[in-house]
């Protein structure tokens, strides 16, 4: 089967430095892919390249079998950014208005919202268990609740691929487990392909079906089980010098005298 995302020898430089270097990556339908790597490893840039927000200097990207330049079916892709940290929390909009705005890609120009779209938005809110907050102001919610609303916004256009960029940053740890349960449900029950950027390797390998490790270029791409069998030395080899920071939790760091 043809992959839904195909990244072919893609490189991107910011000013004079290569941020993404010769990346090859395919994502197949039904996968839950965790994209991990140290800070500044180009994870978020790779996502931006995939979404057409920045243009690659070399290589090509295909989405659903179409070259990115020609791709129009944006409703097939839902995107959840780190918005829980960065959006204007004083913005005067209700949760329902925010979720409904996820339908813009589906509607196209000169079409209006109607009751049907409102119903659709309510269904998406139900999926993330936030329907009781439909009329609440988006800024009044907690970080975790806002993140659920943004997931609902990504889901409302019935996408087959949802991309999440560090969605758990700013969400308190006791809600992170719920969050992964929700993602698991979307992947297994609704068959949505997921691509999630995270720096939390421990948790992602528990939930994702596949893991991609990158540091400017892809160092590992395989099933999560395979990844878990790696020893520390293997990881060291994979990443070079920055591995400690990346793969070990705090208790380990203390043992290492840091």
């Amino acid at each position: 089967m043809k992959p839904i995302v195909e990244i072919d020898h893609v490189s991107f430089k910011y000013e004079k430095e290569w941020v993404v270097k010769d990346v090859n990556l395919s994502i197949h339908s039904g996968q839950f892919l965790g994209l991990v790597g140290p800070n500044g490893s180009g994870k978020s840039t790779l996502i931006k390249l995939m979404l057409g927000l920045v243009k690659p200097d070399q290589g090509s990207i295909q989405l659903f079998g179409q070259p990115l330049k020609k791709f129009q079916n944006w409703q097939e892709i839902g995107f959840v950014s780190q918005k829980a940290n960065s959006f204007n929390s004083g913005f005067p909009a209700t949760v329902l208005e925010v979720v409904r705005s996820g339908l813009v890609s589906r509607l196209g120009t000169l079409k209006f919202f109607n009751r049907q779209h409102e119903k659709k938005a309510m269904e998406a809110l139900k999926t993330v268990e936030m329907e009781e907050f439909a009329q609440a102001n988006i800024g009044e919610l907690s970080g975790g609740q806002q993140q659920r609303v943004f997931i609902a916004r990504a889901l409302v256009s019935d996408p087959s691929l949802v991309i999440l960029d560090e969605p758990t940053v700013g969400v308190d740890s006791k809600h992170v487990t719920d969050f992964y349960d929700l993602l698991g449900k979307l992947n297994k029950e609704q068959g949505i392909t997921l691509l999630m950027v995270t720096h939390d390797i421990g948790t992602i390998t528990e939930h994702a079906t596949h893991v991609v490790c990158m540091n400017k270029t892809v160092h590992f791409h395989g099933a999560s089980e395979e990844y878990k069998e790696f020893s520390d030395e293997d990881l060291n080899r994979l990443y070079g010098h920055s591995v400690q920071q990346l793969t070990h939790n705090h208790s380990h760091d203390e043992v290492n005298g840091r």
């Binding site: 979404l51 057409g52 927000l53 129009q72 944006w74 892709i77 995107f79 950014s81 918005k83 959006f87 204007n88 004083g90 913005f91 005067p92 909009a93 209700t94 208005e97 925010v98 705005s101 996820g102 813009v104 890609s105 509607l107 196209g108 120009t109 000169l110 209006f112 919202f113 009329q135 609440a136 102001n137 916004r153």
Partner: protein, 285 residues
């Protein structure tokens, strides 16, 4: 006043124009405020002044065009200023707000020179700066009406695009929204509305009619639609109360309209404070 309203055409012109801008200025103002572009209105109103000055000078030098309405030249300058701001924002990618003072000061600088050359420091200029109940003629009223109809139509047609762009530009771009195009249409609309509002409110106070009603609405509303509705309500209240008191007190309407908007803002802030305190008390009991 009601009697004189039917008697004098200039009062009808001012009242109708006032009601139109009381609707359309806060309508665009909502998008301006939530996108944190409040100062753009100021920059564009000052460049409108340059257009007025240029028109006054031409009128003086070339006798053939002595019955030109300066509002049209004001509109041309305002729209040109809007497009220039967009250009400058791209040049100074990391200091986007720099475009505003650049345009604002160039507008005033050039304006002052042109006004002096035209010997224009007189009562006419005063009415452009602070608004006037008597300066609006029939033809400008029709112009403002056309602009109002066009702006409302565009906002309705592109409501969802304007909303997404205001809330989350990145999301707008991956939703296939042509952000540049929508933004250009938007800023041209703002330029036209500013030039339209100028005759009643005055150049120095136009931006207040776009931002103060929105500031009041933001204190009270939950949803985006409600913010738009309340902003227009506050805008219209300011215009109506402001125009009536301007007529009775014989002061420029710009002053009375803006001060009404300020009073409404203080009242909404006080209301919000009291209602929050009551709510906190109620929770405590």
């Amino acid at each position: 006043m009601i009697e004189s309203f039917f008697q004098y055409e200039f009062l009808q012109n001012a009242a109708i124009t006032g009601l139109l801008i009381g609707l359309v200025a806060p309508l665009l103002g909502v998008f301006i405020v939530v996108r944190r572009l409040s100062l753009i209105a100021d920059a564009l109103s000052h460049i409108t002044l340059t257009g007025i000055a240029a028109s006054l000078l031409l009128e003086k030098r070339i006798t053939a065009i002595n019955d030109w309405n300066p509002i049209y030249m004001g509109m041309v300058f305002s729209v040109a200023g809007a497009i220039l701001i967009e250009r400058l924002r791209k040049v100074y990618k990391h200091y986007e707000e720099l475009a505003i003072p650049i345009i604002l000061s160039s507008g005033i600088g050039l304006g002052v020179i042109l006004i002096s050359l035209a010997d224009g420091f007189n009562t006419d200029l005063f009415s452009y700066l602070f608004g006037s109940v008597t300066a609006v003629d029939r033809s400008s009223m029709w112009t403002v009406l056309s602009i109002t109809v066009i702006v409302i139509a565009i906002v309705i047609l592109f409501y969802k695009e304007l909303f997404v762009l205001s809330f989350d530009e990145e999301h707008a771009s991956i939703s296939g929204v042509n952000g540049r195009f929508i933004h250009l249409i938007f800023i041209v609309m703002v330029a036209l509305v500013i030039a339209s509002s100028m005759q009643v409110v005055g150049i120095l106070l136009v931006s207040a009619l776009m931002t103060l009603p929105v500031a009041s609405a933001l204190r009270l509303s939950r949803s985006f639609k409600q913010t738009i509705g309340l902003s227009i309500a506050f805008g219209e209240m300011s215009v109506i109360i402001g125009l009536i008191s301007s007529y009775h007190l014989s002061v420029p309407p710009g002053g009375t309209i803006v001060m009404t908007a300020v009073l409404l803002l203080i009242m909404t802030m006080a209301y919000k404070k009291v209602s929050t305190q009551q709510w906190v008390k109620g929770e405590a009991q």
